[in-house]
Symmetry: C2
Subunit: 294 residues, 2 copies
Amino acid sequence: MNENKDNILFPKGTLIPIGGNEDKGIEDSEQYTLEFVEDGILFHVVQESGGTDANIVVIPTASSIPVEVGANYLEAFDTLGCKNVTVLDIRSKEDSEKQSSIDIIKKANCIMFSGGNQSKITQKIGGTTIHDILIDRYKNETGFVIAGTSAGAMAMSNEMISGGSATESFIKGAVRMRKGLSLIPELIIDTHFIKRGRFGRQSEAIAKFPHLLGIGLAEDTGVIIKQGTHCTVIGSGMVIVFDGSSLSHNNEKLLEEGTPMTIANMTIHVLSNSDQYDIKNRRVTVLPIEAPFI
Amino acid sequence: MNENKDNILFPKGTLIPIGGNEDKGIEDSEQYTLEFVEDGILFHVVQESGGTDANIVVIPTASSIPVEVGANYLEAFDTLGCKNVTVLDIRSKEDSEKQSSIDIIKKANCIMFSGGNQSKITQKIGGTTIHDILIDRYKNETGFVIAGTSAGAMAMSNEMISGGSATESFIKGAVRMRKGLSLIPELIIDTHFIKRGRFGRQSEAIAKFPHLLGIGLAEDTGVIIKQGTHCTVIGSGMVIVFDGSSLSHNNEKLLEEGTPMTIANMTIHVLSNSDQYDIKNRRVTVLPIEAPFI
């Protein structure tokens, strides 16, 4: 992965991490009902991919019910008028090396990762030929879109949150992390952010990696990221940005696991529909209140 | 209240707001089991009040089961060796005007407000003679302690959080506020902060009153506040401080209710045992990692 890191500083493609649907208290994020379609998140994915003729490939690898999830997405994209949608049901590293899989990925205008368990994505796709192609196309091809909801969004990080308790948060060790797909290594992305109370685990993640930027996506909310830096909020909820670049005290490295943490001077932004954020310059642009909902 | 505001800028007494006990998922914060005693929070209350001979008055007004709660506190303080503890069971504004109640408050070294519903405290004590005496003694008497757990801590604010949904947070109108006892009008205090995921409602409260400081107390965690400004964290959890003084974008005033909010450049501190915070100067002092647990 490291040889790619410098090259993807100014990628030409588009990333669209999405916070997941309202989860109705069911812990398993696969239980979504695609309600986000009516709120326009998927519409943005289609638009960014070139419209209803775009070649869209759904990868339900994160899910433990990939067939049902794939079928749900086919229906959702069909509702939006998309004519060219495929499900690529990758269930192993071997599947990621198959020529048929590689051909599908090479022809796609848009990859859509489903929700489920983000570690399944990294285990079955991370380090494979498909992963290399995704990074290469994202880096070099204008208009190529990689979208992901819930686990599919979280896997875009390099330092990826793989789990962690909300109620034990701010206790060192409450967040679990592993290597993600590293599509946008500047970010630590978390999802279902509001309803599952994930402030603590994102704060701990940023305390571990204070040079990275934390992005907490609410349900039915996403971010369109262009050139790896220009973010625009879409959807009905909010995006919480954690900037640790001004941290004055951070004892994460020193503490034993299980100990409450001290973190001073974390900067937080709460952004909503059409607000913009510049990752490289860490700058917020808030649109006027009368700006239209996008 | 207003005539007191200026005078209490440098009060001589001590406030000890406490975040409430671990709530075990039961929504009603009266269901606490006083486990915090073993972790030393009540020990600090006794120590600040002058030791086991201190005249301690428990006010279970917030609770809907005041007799049981009062008995629990008597037992807890007895365990600590306190010999002079009284329960003052105020259930109405009339109770707050009784000479017997006034005499008890006048003689106390320490007032301990229980958990329950903070609005009951303001309805039954706010604006009464007892309230005036509490403010006057807190302002003028060195060593006089007012402690409160959960609702009893939240009632110390002037702009008091009276309710609000965690899952609807960052939506304008999700937090409900009313006037508190105004013992420390510089703060908006929230409790049960981690386990109930209350980041959003505190952020909204600070967006409403950006000149105030938000203090979110975890379960089994408190703050000893001297001279209305010098805070020291006690207990096993953490205190989250919300400082809105650098806010660059805050559309709270403009938004309709039910709309997601934008808040840019909120500063957050996560403090734990023995860390210190200066309210007037908004400054964190973090003790070295090898400092003893207090």
